[in-house]
Symmetry: C2
Subunit: 392 residues, 2 copies
């Protein structure tokens, strides 16, 4: 077992320029960690050969470089070429690979159109691979590559689904399989708290002298939830257990997940054997969308109402008009009536009602608030200008 | 006017490890471009001093380094300290700043609790700044910094809203203001097409010899839409106009946005003066949530129905039970009935009905499909296992 260090290079001017948000870097980093490999950097570069080359050079002392993107048929897709020249090899056409790629592209062409000749030229471009590289079969149209050694470079496509599919193959393929097998293992445990502020957890970690422990501890506040993620080698398991016990002693009352489960998973578990329905105003369907986003949610989500206009609150969710007049649409009373309306109209065991101010950022505020409710499966109302209710 | 090059460093083990997806790097890159500054790399590093230092070193030849994150009160927040030592200066306590930070933290403490002494220690840690640095006032609890020169380092907090607020101040503050003023300008134009495949656009760009033009052209397929983004200096405006005209000649029939507008914005414009309502099965509220996500959407979105269960389709959206029995829940007929039900129940001018298979990835498929419908504001049905309808 040895310390294997890796670097990740994400290519694409569209990623660098903010047109799309990179999902591959963090995903690869987590996959590497699961194989006991620490990624030191994720570098995003545009489709400029010099910038890609300098990123590779920066990572020269690592054991493994994983790249994503730049394997498409367009001229700005130049990862394979740059990697080849950086690794001291040249490109050559793999004719059998060209036929396999063309078969895929031609199927697409028959479906959505396009002229044969230039598309065939694109397939040929994609079938050029570095001499001596191991080819990973396309998950879309682009083949992946394993190139060189010390560092080994794994060249993967940019579309996340293609990359993830190909990764499963890549880790079983030599020489990547051997490199990963030589690494040790790294555990990661995640504790999730709500509500807990960053200054509070900072104070706790200072008191616990967390810095002096053989653990890599990270804290992160996202969507109102505070996460404490700890990475450690197996021989520090005792140190971690001690640390977790001490954290529990101080903040166990606001700890809602200790097994990595997200709030969505926690809620899904709580809903087992019950049914739920929603009536949303300002969140406009996002709560229903989030609930149904999970596989298997049809077992407990019956449906929901999006009652943006006050008329819809009355007509669809059965909120009494007088209630809106008396308390305003944004009030605990109307939220409760929405929850009740959702429950009744859809015949569910539980109803969620959400009303609030939908301003910039406001929707997310309410969403968080409601999640907290759902956790306790009982109403807990607070905050000005937004209200929610759960009707059990 | 000169060529100003920048690099972006995003810190945080939670970002590197995939616990959160970085929004700051791409956002900063786009802001820089709007100021005529090209970002060559975005580097994501964990909270390890050596890795942060090597990222700074890698960007030494740029004019500007912008960092995000690592300014919090916890011990793993070490950006300011590492930047100071890399820039050849030391840290000192700014007592007045400490009091301003403590005032913010203490307000938080009164609201959510925590002991005074360790939290005060956190505020003191955050008030340590590099000697000679310009302090940017906290947008949350963390101050930002402008440190050194050649490269100038702008040190900003990690939470996106804090970072974005502080950025507005930073660009008006010396010496960053002068540096940005010295840069030229870079235009970016975005054309969006649907449906158009990547091999097709690759073929077109090859035929147009796009590579030989003084334009940085990037193509990107996301959520089924194909984007062609082009960045160029003002003196290449003519070359761009020519390129755009040639693209239009070939793919003008599937060009749906030529002014940077997203499909959401295009739909919002089309809905001016009309009202709309949704009835969703497999997308479970995501369409309503996406429609209402836009400021001002209350002018045209009346509401929606999430009818996940077949019973709900009948009871809430008025879909005849016989129709479901005869054609199945996933059928054009039921989609049309859902659209009609949404329109009638909510008294809207337009109704959208969505039904389909909610498998992994399936929901997104349907979502895209529906967007295409909405664009034409008339039904266009195709694909197996999913159906949608718009009822005008």
């Amino acid at each position: 077992m040895r310390d294997v260090r890796a670097g990740i290079v994400v290519t694409g001017t569209e990623v660098l320029g903010g047109l799309i948000r990179d999902a591959n870097g963090p995903w690869l980093s987590e996959q590497l960690r699961a194989h006991g490999v620490t990624a030191s950097h994720i570098i995003v570069v545009g489709d400029r050969p010099d910038d890609l080359r300098s990123a590779l050079e920066f990572l020269r002392d690592t054991d493994l470089i994983v790249t994503s993107g730049g394997l498409g048929p367009t001229a700005d897709d130049l990862t394979a070429e740059v990697v080849a020249s950086w690794a001291g090899t040249t490109m050559e056409l793999d004719p059998a690979l060209e036929e396999r790629i063309w078969a895929i592209v031609n199927r697409l062409r028959r479906r959505v159109g396009g002229e044969e000749e230039p598309m065939r030229a694109g397939a040929r471009k994609q079938a050029h691979v570095p001499v001596g590289a191991t080819v990973l079969e396309p998950a879309g149209t682009a083949p992946g590559l394993l190139v060189g050694s010390e560092p080994l470079i794994a060249v993967l496509p940019g579309p996340p689904r293609e990359l993830q599919t190909m990764w499963e193959e890549a880790v079983k393929t030599e020489p990547l399989a051997s490199l990963l097998a030589s690494a040790g293992t790294l555990e990661r445990r995640i504790l999730r708290f709500f509500p807990l502020s960053e200054p509070q957890i900072a104070a706790t970690l200072r008191e616990l002298d967390a810095d002096a422990r053989p653990l890599e501890i990270t804290t992160c506040l996202r969507r109102g939830e505070l996460e404490v993620a700890t990475v450690y080698p197996p021989d520090a398991a005792g140190a971690y257990a001690e640390f977790e016990a001490e954290l529990r002693a101080r903040h166990g009352d606001v700890l809602f997940s200790d097994d990595g489960a997200t709030i969505d998973e926690v809620i899904a578990r709580l809903l087992e054997g019950r049914t739920i329905a929603t009536a949303e105003s300002c969140t406009g369907g996002l709560m229903a969308g989030r609930l149904t986003d999970r596989a298997g949610s049809s077992a407990y989500v019956l449906g929901g109402l999006v009652v943006y206009a006050n008329e819809a609150k009355v007509a669809l969710a059965g909120v009494p008009e007088e209630l809106i007049v008396a308390h305003g649409a944004v009030s605990p009373e109307v939220a409760r009536a929405l929850a009740g309306g959702a429950r009744e109209r859809l015949g569910a065991d539980l109803g969620i009602g959400i009303t609030g101010i939908a301003g910039p950022g406001g929707v997310r505020e309410v969403e968080r608030h409601e999640e907290a409710h759902a956790r306790g499966v009982r109403p807990r109302l607070r905050g000005a200008g937004r209200s929610g209710g759960v009707r059990p």
